[in-house]
């Protein structure tokens, strides 16, 4: 019993990284920006937090440094694709190479040493004392609560309940129409690319400040890609991302559980489970015609399309 709730605790933590990054990708995609460079921005956010941890004592400040690094990458992506209007796919892939390569290069000197500052658990008074479930659900560090409650609620509210969110969605769907209605397409897209980068940086930063908590080479291990895949799985809806992230986290903790309990499954097989799950989540439903149609309808129609006002 206890180990099961431990596994739940781990699932929530492991899912949080994906959740934060996926929310960043979702927001950027809603404005029409598909940044495939999530992996690179996460890696840079992580290494920035690691470097900051050498100087700063507050984990929150380190996280902010990670966020800033990610935001800077996102801004670069925004300027290159929305202002200069370069190809989003190639620019995103370039960011993966640049981000992962640079982060690994900078991180070489830090590899393996435990972090001097990390986030500590922030049990919620009373609730965390509930037997079993209390520890599993209510004794995480503050960023986990932010990831599961504040982020999806805020994203959902802004996108679907405010004028600003309506503008963002319109820009993501049909930039020419939004422009004709007087909205600022390029500025909005650049800002949302930056927000996406900031959240990727936050995911990377939190990963090394809490989950691992140490820098290892390739520490992001494909989580940026999983985040992009989860947005598709979630039909671009914030709350559905939470479900996807929990499933992913569940697979990771299943791996720990299997090792812990000696189920005799080789470690590499367990390590591939989260990726296999992610693939299954996006591939299998696509063969159900109704889901495929729903997915096609949910994707922002202007995703990756550059906007030229004077196009004929």
């Amino acid at each position: 019993m206890g180990s099961l709730f431990n596994a739940l605790h781990t699932s929530i933590d492991a899912g949080a990284v994906i959740l934060i990054a996926a929310m960043g990708s979702l927001l950027a995609e809603r404005s029409g920006m598909l940044n495939l460079g999530m992996e690179g921005m996460m890696a840079l956010g992580a290494v920035a937090a690691v470097v900051a941890a050498g100087q700063l004592t507050s984990p929150l400040l380190c996280l902010l440094v990670g966020i800033a690094a990610g935001a800077l990458c996102g801004l670069v992506f925004g300027v290159v694709t929305a202002v200069i209007r370069a190809n989003q796919v190639l620019t995103g892939l370039a960011l993966v190479l640049l981000g992962v390569g640079l982060a690994n290069r900078i991180g070489t000197d830090f590899a393996g040493t435990p972090m001097s500052t990390t986030f500590s658990s922030w049990p919620i008074p009373l609730l965390h004392e509930i037997p079993y479930i209390g520890r599993a659900l209510f004794s995480h560090d503050p960023i986990v609560y932010v990831a599961y409650l504040v982020l999806p609620a805020a994203a959902s509210y802004v996108l679907f309940r405010t004028r600003h969110g309506l503008n963002v969605r319109a820009i993501g769907e049909n930039a020419a129409a939004a422009d004709a209605a007087g909205l600022r397409v390029t500025a909005t897209r650049t800002i949302y690319a930056t927000i996406g980068g900031a959240l990727a940086g936050m995911a990377g930063g939190w990963l090394v400040l809490s989950l691992t908590p140490t820098w290892t080479q390739n520490v992001t291990g494909g989580r940026g890609w999983v985040a992009i895949a989860l947005v598709i799985f979630a039909y671009w809806r914030p709350w559905r991302v939470v479900g996807g992230a929990l499933l992913f986290g569940g697979m990771i903790s299943l791996g720990f559980l299997a090792q812990d309990q000696n189920w005799g499954i080789p470690a590499p097989v367990l390590a591939m489970l989260p990726y296999v799950l992610t693939l299954v989540l996006i591939v299998l439903p696509a063969f159900v015609p109704s889901i495929r149609a729903r997915r096609a309808g949910a994707a922002p129609a202007g995703l990756t399309l550059p906007f030229y006002r004077e196009a004929r």
Binding site: R161, G165, N174, A176, A178, D179, A180, G182, E310
Partner: protein, 531 residues
């Protein structure tokens, strides 16, 4: 430097100004170049309060470009815009909207997955930061009542008919406080009766002091609705005249610069065996909704069957069924008695079917590929051009040269990407290629749309020649005049159904228009039993 305005134009303007209405907009000496052509060469436009001003010209004359300059979408290379006598420079549509200039685009600028209410309010500064669904809907309903344009406010745009979408677009512009309302070819997507309704709305708006700019190339309409007409040709003003003093013939002459000799109709030499036989076909459109319903139609050798109807009533899907691009979920498709239901487009090509689709650039041409590769798109599998999976490159080049000559396409080199050709050249190229592919059946959707008069005549010739050679032709067009001029029989499509079957000689516009708008003829005159 010559004076871009011919002297007689200035005379005319002084006559018009005697009308003594206040001038609202004055555009003078507007120049605009795109990469490959000069769209505007010193065009000008003067608009008065409370008038309906038609902007007339052939395709490519610069009507839309001029409007886009006025509404801040394009920035002019040279030229001044004055609003109420004050010189203005718009850097974005937002600034033009704020100044009271609104445009209803030919391809609506609506966000499909959003609701009517959301679209209408999009970009309004008055919109509260926090959205209230209820308030959005009630304000929309209120505005609809005020302007007499009603649409379900909670419907999503993609669920609406084209006519309803147009109403949303007009409302959206009005709600932004437009004093000058520009409508780009608004009647192209409407039935005759919907167009009449639209004109009534426009007159009401003009009576309330707004200025309406009405872009069109349909002469009768222009004369029926407008107070003044400005005619553009090749990016320049030809004339501005009061509509009351004009006739369709005079307008046509100003528009094209020549008097058009209407050719005598070329009747069919008599029809032969049936070629295309559609039996009770039903099919779904791209959105998964049923868009062709139990349609039956037979096209014989040596006849042109015209399909009339407001666009979006299943014509595109019908042409796709007849060419194998879309599979019906019920009914059968046969060519020359051979059942081709649910077969691949390649089988239709082999059966001798040529197809000029509606969206030529999107689906009949590979823009990045060379002229050579585009020329053999339909015929590359034939023994003439390839053998055992290997292309016969020499034969391919000969084929291309012949096609380019036959289509009268001007180009330096057949190895350049076809995207380098102008739209009109591409269209003639596709029409000729498909005519060659069409041994038995030619399916042509709007083959002359967007062409100037001369090019349109050439394409029509190709279609008629094919028929005279004994080929069956299915011709879709939303230009009733064109259908009446070339078809031997006309059927009407409404909401996916085929209604009516007229012998072209006996067809009356009024009856066809009635069917296009959803009416039914109960054994009425002119209707014949489907053959």
């Amino acid at each position: 430097m010559y004076d871009p305005q011919p002297p007689d134009v200035q005379n005319d303007q002084t006559v018009a100004c005697a009308d003594a209405r206040a001038t609202v907009v004055e555009m003078a000496d507007i120049w605009k170049a795109f990469d490959d052509f000069q769209a505007l060469s010193g065009a000008s436009l003067e608009l008065q309060a409370g008038e309906i001003h038609a902007l007339l010209g052939e395709n490519g004359a610069g009507k839309t470009t001029l409007s886009n300059v006025l509404t801040g979408i394009y920035r002019p290379d040279v030229g001044t815009i004055r609003l109420d006598g004050e010189q203005r420079r718009f850097h974005s549509p937002a600034q033009a909207i704020a100044a009271g200039l609104g445009m209803v685009h030919q391809h609506f600028r609506l966000v499909e997955p959003l609701t009517v209410a959301e679209n209408i309010h999009l970009g309004r500064p008055e919109l509260p930061r926090r959205l209230s669904r209820r308030r959005l809907i009630s304000e929309t309903a209120q505005a609809m009542e005020q302007y007499g344009l009603t649409v379900n406010p909670t419907a999503r745009i993609w669920q609406l008919s084209i006519g309803e979408q147009q109403r949303v677009e007009i409302l959206r512009v009005l709600l932004r406080g437009a004093r000058v309302l520009i409508l780009d070819e608004p009647t192209a997507v409407l039935t005759p009766s919907e167009a009449t309704e639209l004109f009534a709305v426009l007159r009401r708006l003009a009576a309330s002091g707004r200025t309406i700019v009405f872009i069109s190339h349909k002469l009768h309409e222009v004369l029926a609705v407008s107070d003044r007409v400005t005619i553009l040709r090749r990016g320049m003003n030809v004339a501005t005249r009061p509509a009351a003093k004009m006739t369709p013939e005079k307008l046509a002459k100003l528009m094209t610069g020549t008097e058009r000799v209407m050719e005598a109709p070329r009747p069919s030499k008599g029809r032969g065996k049936p070629v295309l036989e559609l039996r009770n076909v039903s099919a779904r459109g791209d959105r998964g909704l049923v868009s062709v319903r139990e349609a039956s139609c037979t096209v014989h050798e040596g006849e042109i069957v015209g399909v009339a109807g407001v666009s979006g009533n299943g014509q595109r899907e019908l042409t796709e069924i007849a060419t194998g691009l879309r599979h019906p979920f019920e009914g059968t498709v046969a060519i020359d008695g051979q059942d081709l239901t649910a077969r691949l487009p390649g089988d239709f090509v082999s059966a001798g079917v040529g197809h000029v689709p509606e969206d030529r650039i999107g689906s009949a041409i590979v823009p990045s590929a060379t002229v050579v590769d585009n020329a053999v798109l339909r015929a590359f599998r034939t023994g003439e051009l390839s053998r055992a999976g290997v292309m016969r490159r020499g034969a391919v080049r000969v084929f291309t040269d012949r096609l380019v000559t036959a289509a009268d396409v001007q180009l330096p080199d057949i190895d350049v990407p076809i995207a380098n050709l102008s739209g009109g050249n591409q269209q003639r190229f596709v029409a000729r290629r498909e005519a060659w592919a069409a041994d038995r059946l030619l399916v042509a959707a709007h083959p002359t749309r967007g062409l100037d008069v001369r090019a349109a005549d050439q394409v029509r010739e190709v279609v008629l020649d094919r028929r005279d050679a004994g080929c069956a032709v299915l011709l879709v067009s939303d230009d009733l005049d064109e259908l009446l001029a070339v078809s031997d029989r006309i059927v009407v499509m409404y909401e996916g159904r085929i209604k009516g079957d007229f012998t072209a000689a006996k067809a009356r516009r009024k009856e066809i228009g009635y069917l296009m708008g959803g009416g039914d003829l109960v054994g009425g005159a002119g209707a014949e039993a489907p053959s």
